[in-house]
């Protein structure tokens, strides 16, 4: 009991160490060009400048817009595919459902580079390279198996009596799903949407293989080109990184419990 203030202090110290790179990103994003190569580097942005952020506004807005569109598209596709599947696996006892669940679990483990190469070969033939819908479909593969597992786990907790009551009223399966199951699953829809958005927003491997050099590139490629082209303007690079981190930060602040639910759901059953 007596040691508690000490523990809080130690906790603060550990958190500060862990988050130092994040602080450093902010610090560098505000540093002037002429201070960038200073030795030793300034621990605080003494002459803070928004030059870096001006560069973001001037050059990176289209990338951010593309990422937003792709993120929202991925969320819509993922929920539309996964929610009905979760309902069926949780409540309708399909024959062969166990095998499907197993396939979904294994599907999560396929390395991204494999999927990317396969998609590249297919999209090349279909003429879908450098297209936004193509990237949305590819990005959704990051989230769909996880989403089905989350929906299944959550929807199995909906009491069967409730669904039976709905069916007694003559609601067929589709109506039951739409007006009973889905509204009750709001939390899992939020969790799934958050992760689907974050993963597609952060995707680099599909972007760099499927839409590289196209008219619509996401922000991850924006940063990547930046690093490749001018490795001098690190304030602009880091400012872009800060802006690209905003969705994750906003989500963590506003929806922390959904995030924690998602992290543990895949790994631990309790």
């Amino acid at each position: 009991m007596r040691t508690r203030p000490l523990k809080t202090a130690l906790g603060l110290l550990l958190t500060a160490i862990m988050l130092f790179p994040v602080y450093w990103m902010l610090n560098v994003s505000l540093t002037r060009d002429q201070d960038m190569r200073k030795s030793p580097p300034g621990l605080f942005p003494a002459h803070a400048t928004l030059e870096g952020y001006r560069a973001v506004v001037d050059q990176q807005l289209p990338y951010l817009g593309t990422s937003l569109v792709i993120g929202l598209g991925t969320v819509a596709l993922t929920v539309a595919l996964a929610a009905p599947a979760g309902y069926a696996l949780a409540k309708l006892r399909p024959r062969g459902g166990g095998i499907l669940g197993f396939v979904l679990l294994v599907a999560q483990m396929i390395p991204g580079i494999i999927m990317a190469m396969g998609f590249y070969a297919i999209y090349l033939q279909l003429g879908l390279l450098q297209s936004v819908p193509g990237l949305i479909v590819a990005d959704s593969t990051l989230a769909v198996p996880f989403a089905v597992l989350i929906f299944t786990a959550f929807m199995s907790t909906i009491p069967g009596e409730l669904l039976q009551a709905a069916q007694m009223d003559g609601a067929h399966a589709l109506r039951t799903f739409w007006s009973v199951v889905l509204p009750m699953s709001r939390n899992s829809v939020v969790t799934v949407s958050l992760f689907a958005f974050l993963w597609s927003w952060s995707d680099f491997i599909f972007a760099s293989t499927l839409v590289n050099g196209g008219a619509h590139e996401p922000i991850t490629l924006g940063i990547y080109h930046y690093i490749g082209n001018n490795n001098q303007q690190w304030n602009a690079i880091m400012a872009t990184a800060v802006v690209a981190s905003l969705p994750a930060t906003v989500i963590l602040v506003l929806a922390q419990r959904y995030v924690a639910a998602g992290v543990t759901a895949g790994a631990v059953k309790d």
Binding site: G11, A85, P111, A121, V263
Partner: protein
Amino acid sequence: MSQMTQVPPPRTDSDGAALKAPRRPVSPQWAAWAFLAPVTLYLGLFYAYPLYRNIDLSLRHYTVRSFVRGDAPFTGLANYRMVFDDPTFAPALLHTVVFTGVCLVFQYAIGLALAVFFHQNFRLSATLRALFLVPWLLPLIVSASTWSWMLNSDSGVVNAVLHAVGIGPVNWLTSPSWSLTSVIIANIWIGVPFNLVVLHSGLQSIPASLYEAAALDGANAWQRFWRITFPLLRPVSAITLLLGLVYTLKVFDIIWIMTKGGPADSSTTFATWSYQLGFGNLLPAFGPGAAVGNLLVLAALVFGLIYVRVQRKQALS
């Protein structure tokens, strides 16, 4: 609660159930698969087919022209033989094993220590634990480029700190003897939050009464950890480590963005080598690239299946 529901045991399926309870849907199987149809179709089109294309790629001799026209000759396992004989094979295998092993050990150890620490109730413990999630949520390109600049030889903050304590500059990303270490450090940083959160939720299921009893018996904190926490956490630890293994095997972004697998292949793993072959050069070698990728899939699947088995066993017990 089960006495309340008048419905007969649902095992009697289709016609039997339909007779006794005519208002229930006649064919639940039909409805179930209607709901599953989209995702099943999706799995076939966007998982199975890319995987199949990848196997096909690895068994043919592709040039840029035949890749576009799709008439590459079948060459059996020639691509695999080429990959095995490649001078990059041995280092890539070694780096993959070292990268995965070292990352796992450190992520788990640090994650567990932090989980135990944050499991104690003190002010701000929940808030600080949530903040620890930040590195895990950031886009990998953000983490990788931040670490790149922090580890920069001349202007990086890491070398500045080392200089302050009297250690000479380290060429983290540009020296072949340090590049693998650098990407490992960055990846451990990214993986700790996942381990922390999962292990922390595992700790919460250990009954507090056990600790109280142990404390009454005079066990100190160290003994309590090794005699109670660690053994009781074993199922959760197994799951965390296996999942971490599968995820770490396929890490690509961090390494590619920080070092591109270099310098001179000193930090290349199967994932970056596969990408390098397929997309990293002006003249793509899709066949060998796909072959390397398939070896990676094989490894991931083996550990993935072990993971599924362990998880099933735990769910049953």
